[in-house]
């Protein structure tokens, strides 16, 4: 559909929030915690912080929770009864205050869950999510959205995107039908707005590399010292994957309690040594260098090769949260200088 532009007054924004909460919707929004902002359930408008570049955690958990019940079972000597979680009804969730990068991340994420296998639970959850993104007025040196075909005002993935204008009011760009419905239900809060260039109200994010170039280079960079060099300080934790809005690897776990139990889908990370460990003890990816390479290749080569969408939206979270200060941009920019293997 064609994007529709509206104006929403600063004061109306709070009313909009009030209406949503009033209708019993679950709202996730950035909440301050120490020096961090975290996506969390909020009840009141006052809980929401505006002071963040991006939140420490991504918003992916609303569609891909870190622990997802797939089914539960109850077995006896004769038979086993299974309750499939795919039959569940999932709640309406509103993501309030995602950055454009986070909203855009749902595109590759949804691709992943709809490849060879259509994940019912993921899709049911995704259908119920309304994404109200806020464009970026600030960026930091970790941000590189513009290098991965996105930007501080990218509306892809959002249902509605709000941009704070110089007078404190907001431009509301309605991108989807879901967004239209929101405007309809709260029409008294939205005013018509003529076409306006929002660029002056956005942060400037320098383009650091070209994604397509990197993709082409990576075809022939499997054996390269850069992987070990750039990952030497890697501690082998999973924080980069877990804060990443696109990372979607998971592990299947059964939790048994006597004859009852649950099968769970839990987040997993290619940063862990155990991720590729075989039962025999052999580990094809047995150093952090190999694991770091996998992370980069997966995002910048395998995913775009497979589904045309890269697995990175340039939010920079992985670098910000890395306890060893391993910076993905460092690796990517130095890759640009590498000569591909012949």
């Amino acid at each position: 559909m064609q994007t529709e532009n509206y104006l929403i007054r600063k004061s109306s924004l709070e009313k909009l929030f009030g209406n949503l909460i009033g209708n019993g919707k679950i709202v996730y929004a950035p909440k301050a915690k120490g020096n961090l902002a975290l996506f969390d359930k909020v009840q009141a408008f006052g809980e929401i912080t505006e002071d963040y570049i991006v939140t420490a955690n991504s918003a992916k958990s609303v569609t891909f929770p870190r622990t997802e019940k797939l089914f539960s079972y109850h077995k006896s000597k004769e038979s086993t009864e299974i309750t499939d979680a795919a039959n569940n009804t999932f709640p309406d969730v509103i993501l309030w205050g995602t950055r454009p990068c986070d909203a855009a991340a749902f595109i590759p994420l949804t691709e992943t869950f709809n490849g060879d296998f259509q994940d019912i639970i993921y899709n049911k959850r995704r259908e119920k999510v309304l994404i109200l993104s806020f464009s970026c007025k600030r960026s930091d040196e970790y941000c590189f959205c513009t290098s991965v075909n996105s930007g501080p005002g990218n509306t892809a993935g959002s249902d509605v995107q709000f941009t704070k204008l110089s007078d404190g009011d907001y431009l509301a760009e309605v991108i989807t039908e879901k967004g239209q419905l929101l405007v309809k239900e709260n029409c008294n809060l939205f005013e018509a707005k003529p076409e306006e260039d929002k660029e002056p109200n956005l942060a400037i994010v320098a383009t650091r590399f070209n994604q397509e170039e990197i993709q082409a280079k990576l075809q022939n960079l499997f054996e390269n010292p850069v992987w070990d060099d750039k990952s030497r300080a890697c501690l082998g934790c999973g924080s980069c994957s877990y804060v990443c809005p696109v990372c979607s690897c998971f592990d299947i776990q059964d939790e048994a309690h006597g004859n009852k139990g649950t099968r769970l889908r839990c987040w997993d990370s290619c940063g862990y040594g155990l991720f590729t460990m075989h039962t025999s003890g052999h580990n094809p990816r047995n150093t952090q260098g190999g694991r770091w390479r996998q992370r980069i290749l997966h995002k910048f080569l395998y995913m775009p090769n497979k589904s045309k969408v890269a697995g990175c939206v340039g939010c920079g979270r992985c670098s910000r949260s890395c306890p060893a200060d391993i910076n993905i941009l460092d690796t990517l920019t130095s890759l640009q200088e590498e000569k591909p293997n012949e």
Partner: protein
């Protein structure tokens, strides 16, 4: 897939009267992996065991749960039955439905439900059991016997006569113990020393017995068949090899007024002394605390007089390490000092004495040469009162248990008195007369009928002195609680038999359990009366509980036979419940990271290190390794291991975890 058999025992009616055993069998039969479940009157009986054995064979069971009494009772029985049916014995577990359920709860639904829970828990455990095979360890065929009383003497002689080496350690300068202090013995009135001394001499001369007197256990390490004992040989201040036992030193020693322990303070001894004339070894020791030279630095008369030059003032205690395969504890008992009972006047009036003191007075080798004379003035008492249960059966001020020997020895004392003091009058205040034993009741009858001892059923409330007499006030409960007052010349208190003062410390050194009175605990009150909870350590005599001589001797022979059985094999099969460090294929080899916290926690120093090397001999990994011979299976290391790399067979992480899960999830 597991095929578990569940066998619920009624134990006659012991279990079935409160637990619905049929339902327990029915409910547990529904559990996954349970192939068969049944209940039976007596699972431990022959037909009961046959049911188990047949079912194992017919159903091809992979595991067995017997829900019956405590595994501490019948685990070996049922494991053996499984083995006979071709199932590894460690694939059998017991669920304790008797001691932990039917005997402690009333009949109710909750009791049956608890029984079901307990059985289910063991079913889940046994599913994770794995076949285990006994560990073979060598046996050092030398026994250590602690204590040279009649118990230690008997045990030593029996073991030695079976052809095994014995080291007999006695803390006093001579063996003989309490029995050597006794005058005559009930119920035969034969002279105690006359029957004991030949045994003492036999010990001294036996080629298989090494006798160390004036010595004590310092430390005991190791395990059955392989103990390492450290003995402190206290300095006797003489060279035993040179001393010929002539006795010059003891007669000339200037310090002569030391109360003689052997004569219970009724006589004296010198600082260099032999405790009694028939002592074995008959060689003196110097009592450093009372010796003038040791205390004041001058004297050395004994050294000057000694014809062989055997005195060694510079002798030091010596610590000797021994390797022994078994230990018999025969450290005896002690007599409670009745000073906690001021009403009896013990300690206040010289003529109120204990039963043991009376033994010395009545003994031909005693301070009065066997004449009954008052300690105060040496007069022969015309009237004598014996007080039974002076401390025994008195939970308030004494000890709650019965000292067992007092009824008999008090009858004996009264009888000896009547025989020695013609025309004397003797009275015994008693609570009950306990004379169960061969010829015991007849003996007491003889005292009452033939020797006219006056038995008064009642307690003594007060003893006090008046005009040179001891006034004994009491009550005769058989005569409508009529007050009784006797003007006596002497009062003898049958003071309680208690544990030795060092018993608790000794038990801790040896890691054997003991009861609240500090008597050593037998492994089972009925079926393992000479064993302790620690394999290879046995009990003989009154260190376990008060006993008379025949009982002590029987138990000593029993303990000896246990040692002889142990020594009849060159190798010992040990329970394979030991810790193991995991190993796996390269490149992991083991998940152990070699922090060795387990090694520092192990009480047995059973954990060493192992170097994992490649083909060229380069060290790849340094990991912990358990010596299964030393490991005793406590599992402390297992709970310590952060990476869960060490586990214990029989109580593995998976087994304990599944027990918790099963116990709390009844569905």
């Amino acid at each position: 897939m597991s095929k578990i058999g569940v066998f619920i025992c009624h134990c006659g009616e012991n279990i079935s009267s409160t637990v619905d055993v049929v339902r327990v069998a029915e409910e547990t039969g529904k559990l996954e992996g349970v192939e068969f479940s049944t209940d039976y009157k007596y699972m431990c009986s022959d037909p009961g065991q046959t049911i188990i054995k047949q079912t194992i064979k017919e159903k091809g069971l992979t595991g067995v749960v017997v829900a019956a009494c405590s595994p501490r009772m019948h685990e070996p029985t049922f494991r053996k039955a499984c083995q006979e049916a071709g199932l590894n014995p460690y694939m059998c577990e017991m669920s304790n439905l008797r001691e932990h359920c039917s005997w402690v709860h009333d009949k109710s639904e909750a009791t049956t439900q608890k029984a079901i829970d307990l059985v289910r828990t063991l079913v889940e455990k046994v599913k994770l059991n794995k076949p285990l095979y006994p560990i073979k360890v060598p046996v050092t065929k030398t026994a250590l016997v602690l204590g040279g009383g009649i118990a230690g003497i008997q045990a030593s002689l029996d073991i030695a006569n079976a052809g095994h080496k014995v080291i007999l350690v006695e803390k006093d300068p001579s063996i003989g113990g309490h029995m050597s202090q006794l005058s005559e013995t009930f119920p035969t009135l034969d002279c105690s020393q006359c029957i004991l001394t030949p045994r003492m001499v036999e010990v001294a001369q036996h080629p298989n017995i090494t006798l160390w007197t004036y010595a004590e256990l310092e430390k005991l390490e190791g395990f059955i068949g392989n103990f390492k004992a450290t003995i402190r040989k206290k300095a006797k201040s003489i060279d035993e090899n040179i001393c010929n036992g002539c006795g010059h030193c003891t007669t000339k020693c200037p310090t002569k007024k030391i109360p003689s322990e052997f004569n219970t303070g009724l006589g004296t001894r010198t600082a260099i002394y032999v405790p009694f004339p028939q002592a074995v070894p008959n060689k003196p020791v110097i009592d450093k605390d009372n010796c003038t030279y040791y205390q004041k630095g001058k004297c050395k008369i004994c050294e000057k007089l000694c014809p062989t030059g055997a005195i060694r003032f510079d002798q030091q205690d010596e610590l000797v390490e021994l390797e022994v395969g078994a230990v018999v504890i025969a450290t005896g008992f002690n007599v409670m000092q009745p000073s906690g009972f001021p009403e009896y006047g013990y300690g206040k009036y010289k003529d109120v004495i204990t039963g043991l003191q009376f033994e010395r007075l009545a003994s031909a080798s005693g301070p009065t040469l066997g004449e009954i004379r008052r300690p105060s003035d040496g007069k022969i008492p015309e009237k004598i009162v014996f007080v039974a249960c002076a401390g025994s059966r008195d939970p308030a001020k004494g000890i709650p248990y019965c000292s067992k020997i007092c009824c008999m020895y008090t009858a004996k004392h009264a009888m000896l008195y009547q025989h020695k003091v013609h025309g004397g009058k003797s009275y015994i205040f008693y609570m009950d007369i306990r004379a169960a034993g061969k010829n015991y009741e007849e003996f007491v009858r003889r005292a009452i009928v033939d020797d006219e001892v006056n038995y008064i059923r009642g307690r003594v409330s007060k003893v006090y002195e008046e005009n040179g007499k001891l006034i004994v006030k009491g009550v005769d409960t058989l005569l409508n609680a009529k007050p009784v007052e006797i003007e006596a010349d002497m009062v003898v208190l049958a003071s309680a038999a208690v544990a030795n003062p060092g018993a608790e410390e000794l038990a801790q050194k040896m890691h054997v359990s003991y009861d609240s009175y500090n008597f050593f605990s037998e492994a089972h009150p009925k079926l393992k009366p000479v064993e302790t909870n620690t394999a290879g350590i046995f009990l003989a005599g009154a260190c376990q509980a008060p006993k008379d001589i025949p009982e002590t001797v029987s138990q000593a022979s029993g303990a000896a036979s246990k040692v002889i059985i142990l020594f009849s094999q060159n190798e010992l099969s040990r329970e394979p419940v030991v810790a193991v460090v995991n190993r796996s294929a390269p490149p992991v080899y083991s998940t152990c990271v070699g922090c060795f916290m387990c090694a520092s926690a192990c009480p047995y120093q059973a954990i060493g290190e192992e170097l994992i090397t490649d083909r060229k001999g380069n060290v790849i990994k340094r990991v912990a390794k358990v010596n299964p011979g030393l490991c005793q299976g406590c599992g402390t290391c297992v709970a310590f291991c952060r990476s869960k790399s060490i586990d214990i067979d029989g109580y593995s992480n998976e087994q304990m975890y599944s027990e918790v899960m099963a116990l709390l999830n009844n569905d």
